[in-house]
C-alpha cells in the first residue's frame, strides 16, 4: 500500500528556520537523508521531495481564455507543505511509524521537532469485482 506523508510547517516555522545554527541545520538534513536511505534499504521508498520556501510560491487559476492567472501566496495561509515522502508499506501502522520517525526530526539544540505529518493513502488503479 502506498502512502504519502506530508509535512506541513506553520508560516512562523519558516521564519524561525533562518535562525537555526549551522550545526542544527546539518543535523536535520542528515536525519532526513538517513531516513530516506533507511527506507530505500528496507524496500519501502517510493519518492520524496522537499519543497522550496513558500515566499515565491504562486497560486494559479485558469483565466477565461485558459491562460494562467497567478496570485501571490495568501497572507491568511497559516501553514505550508514543506515536503512529502512516499512509501510502499505492508500496513497502515508501518506508515504511521515512519511518519512518527520523520516527525521527530531534530530541530534547534537537537531536540525533536515533533512536526505534524499528514498521512494519506494513495489510490490504486486496480479494482475488484463489485456488486
Amino acid at each position: 500500500m502506498k502512502y504519502v506523508l506530508m509535512m506541513h510547517i506553520p508560516r512562523a516555522g519558516y521564519g524561525a528556520f533562518g535562525a537555526w545554527s549551522q550545526k542544527d541545520i546539518a543535523a536535520n538534513f542528515a536525519f532526513v537523508r538517513n531516513l530516506n536511505k533507511t527506507l530505500s534499504e528496507s524496500g519501502e521508498f517510493v519518492g520524496a521531495e522537499g519543497l522550496a520556501m513558500p515566499d515565491q510560491a504562486k497560486v494559479v487559476r485558469a483565466g477565461k481564455d485558459g491562460m494562467p492567472i497567478t496570485d501571490g501566496v495568501f497572507p491568511e495561509s497559516k501553514e505550508f507543505l514543506a515536503g512529502y515522502l512516499m512509501v510502499d508499506v505492508e500496513t497502515t501502522e508501518r506508515a504511521y511509524e515512519i511518519a512518527a520517525i520523520w516527525s521527530a526530526a531534530p530541530g534547534p539544540g537537537g531536540l525533536p521537532l515533533n512536526m505534524p505529518i499528514e498521512v494519506r493513502q494513495g489510490m490504486s488503479v486496480g479494482a475488484n469485482e463489485l456488486p
Binding site: 528496507s42 510502499d88 493513502q121 486496480g126 475488484n128
Partner: protein, 428 residues
C-alpha cells in the same frame, strides 16, 4: 529490455528455464543469494545475445554454464580477497571449478518446486515473497517487477535482496521438504500465487494495463506448480479459479475505462478456451475428494461462467457453494458474498439481514465493500435514498480509483432517476 526482443518466444523460454537453472546452480554452489544474482546475469546475457545470435542448441546448458562461470569468478575473487586479508593458505576444501561444465548433469524437475517453497517461506512478508517468487521462480527482471508494482527499481532491488538475505539467515536447506512439511507450507505458497494473480487481474483496467501481465505470470507459475504436484486438488483448484476469473478480463472494462459488473458484461467477450480449461481442471480436482477453498471459489466462478446470460445464473447452486465455503474457510468477505447469493435466491431483505452482524466485525465494519453490497441490496428492496447514501460512503472509503468512479456513478444514477432502475435486475 523486453521491448528489444524480436519475438516473445525467447522471453517465455527464458522464464521457463530460469528456475531450473537457478535450482542447478544453488545445488552446486549452495548459496541461494549469490546463485540468484548469477542466474539473473546469465538471463540478461541471453536476452541480449539470443535474439542476435540465435537460441543455442541447449539453452538450459548455456544458461547454467554462463551462471556457473559467474559464480566461479565470484568464488575466486572471494578467495583472493580472503587471501589478501588473512594470508591464510588456500583452504584445502576450496574447490577448483572447471570453466567448462557438463550442462546437462543437473536436471531435476523438483528444483523448481524447491525454489517455489523456498520463496514462499512464511517468514517473509507477502510483498517480499511475491517479489522473490517472481524473480527466482518466474525469471522476471527486477525492473519488470518494479514496473508492475509501480515502485522504483532500486526499492524493488532492495526488497528482493532483503528477502534473499532472510532466506539465507533462516538456513533453509536446498532440498525438497518431506511431504508432511510440504503439505503444511502449501497454503502459504498458494496464497502468494493467488496474490500475484489478484494484483494482475485487479490492474487489468483500461489504459492502466500493466506492461507486464502479472495475472498471466501467476497462471504460468501455478500451472508449473500443478505439473509438479499433480495429486494436489487445491493447486488444481487455484489454477482453475485463475483461469475462470481471467476468462472475463476483456469484458470487465467499458470503452470509457469504467468497471463493468458481472451482470452487465458482454459475455461474448469471455474467453471460452480459458473457461473450458478451467472447468476441466476443476472437475478433475473435485473428483479427488478433499474439497478446499480454492476449489469452491473456482466452482462459484464456473457457475457464473456457464450462464449464457446473467439472468440464467444458477444462484441456488452458488448459494450452496458459499454455504460450503463459509464452513471450510470462514471470513467476513465470504459472509458478504454469501449475503448477496442469499439475496438473489431468497430476496434482498434476507440478504440485508445477513449483513447486520458484519457491522460489528472490526475487519469489515468500515470496509467499502460492506457499504457497496448494502447499497446494492437496498436498491433492490427499493430504498433508494439509503442506497444512495451507502454508495457514497462506499465511494469515499475505497482506495481504488475505478471502484470509486463506479460507485459514484451508481449513486448519481439512482439519484437522478430514482424510479427508473437499470434496464435489468442487477446481479452481483
Amino acid at each position: 529490455m523486453i521491448e528489444t526482443l524480436p519475438n516473445a518466444f525467447d522471453e517465455h523460454l527464458l522464464r521457463e528455464l530460469a528456475p531450473q537453472v537457478l535450482g542447478a546452480i544453488v545445488r552446486r554452489f549452495r548459496d541461494f543469494a549469490a546463485a540468484e544474482d548469477a542466474v539473473q546475469e546469465a538471463l540478461i546475457a541471453a536476452f541480449i545475445q539470443w535474439p542476435r545470435n540465435g537460441v543455442p542448441e541447449n539453452p538450459r546448458g548455456w544458461l547454467i554454464q554462463v551462471a556457473s562461470r559467474r559464480m566461479t569468478d565470484q568464488v575466486r575473487s572471494e578467495i583472493a580477497r580472503r587471501e589478501r586479508e588473512t594470508s591464510v593458505a588456500r583452504d584445502a576444501e576450496t574447490m577448483v571449478f572447471a570453466d567448462e561444465i557438463e550442462p546437462d548433469m543437473d536436471m531435476d524437475p523438483n528444483d523448481t518446486l524447491i525454489l517455489l517453497f523456498m520463496c514462499c517461506h512464511p517468514a517473509l512478508s507477502s510483498s517480499s515473497a511475491i517479489a522473490l517468487t517472481l524473480r527466482a521462480v518466474g525469471g522476471l527482471t527486477t525492473a519488470e517487477i518494479a514496473n508492475a508494482f509501480l515502485v522504483p527499481e532500486a526499492t524493488m532491488a532492495q526488497r528482493i535482496s532483503r528477502a534473499k538475505q532472510s532466506i539465507k539467515a533462516s538456513r533453509v536447506p536446498f532440498s525438497l521438504l518431506p511431504p508432511e512439511d510440504r503439505a503444511e507450507r502449501l497454503p502459504a505458497v498458494l496464497h502468494v500465487l493467488y496474490l500475484i494473480f489478484n494484483e494482475g487481474y485487479a490492474s487489468s483496467i483500461g489504459a492502466h494495463l500493466q506492461r507486464l501481465n502479472l495475472a498471466r505470470e501467476a497462471i504460468r507459475l501455478t500451472r508449473c506448480a500443478k505439473n509438479l504436484l499433480p495429486d494436489d486438488a487445491e493447486v488444481a483448484g487455484l489454477l482453475a479459479l485463475m483461469l475462470l476469473t481471467d476468462a472475463r478480463r476483456a469484458a470487465r472494462t467499458g470503452p470509457d475505462e469504467g468497471l463493468i459488473p458481472l451482470d452487465k458484461q458482454d459475455r461474448s467477450l469471455w474467453d471460452r478456451a480459458e473457461i473450458s480449461e478451467g472447468i476441466e481442471f476443476l472437475t478433475a480436482a473435485l473428483s479427488k475428494g478433499s474439497v478446499g477453498p480454492y476449489q469452491l471459489q473456482a466452482a462459484i466462478a464456473a457457475v457464473h461462467d456457464e450462464a449464457a446470460r446473467a439472468e440464467d445464473t444458477d444462484w441456488p447452486q452458488i448459494l450452496a457453494l458459499y454455504e460450503l465455503l463459509k464452513r471450510v474457510s470462514p471470513s467476513p468477505m465470504v459472509t458478504l458474498s454469501h449475503a448477496i447469493a442469499t439475496a438473489m435466491v431468497h430476496g434482498p431483505s434476507k440478504g440485508l439481514e445477513l449483513l447486520k452482524p458484519l457491522d460489528s466485525d472490526d475487519r469489515l465494519a468500515e470496509h467499502h465493500r460492506l457499504n457497496a453490497v448494502r447499497a446494492h441490496l437496498l436498491e433492490m428492496v427499493g430504498d433508494h435514498e439509503t442506497a444512495v447514501r451507502h454508495y457514497r460512503i462506499a465511494a469515499s472509503r475505497t482506495t481504488s480509483i475505478p471502484e470509486r468512479n463506479y460507485l459514484m456513478a451508481q449513486a448519481a444514477r439512482l439519484e437522478e432517476s430514482p424510479n427508473c432502475p437499470e434496464e435489468k435486475t442487477t446481479t452481483p
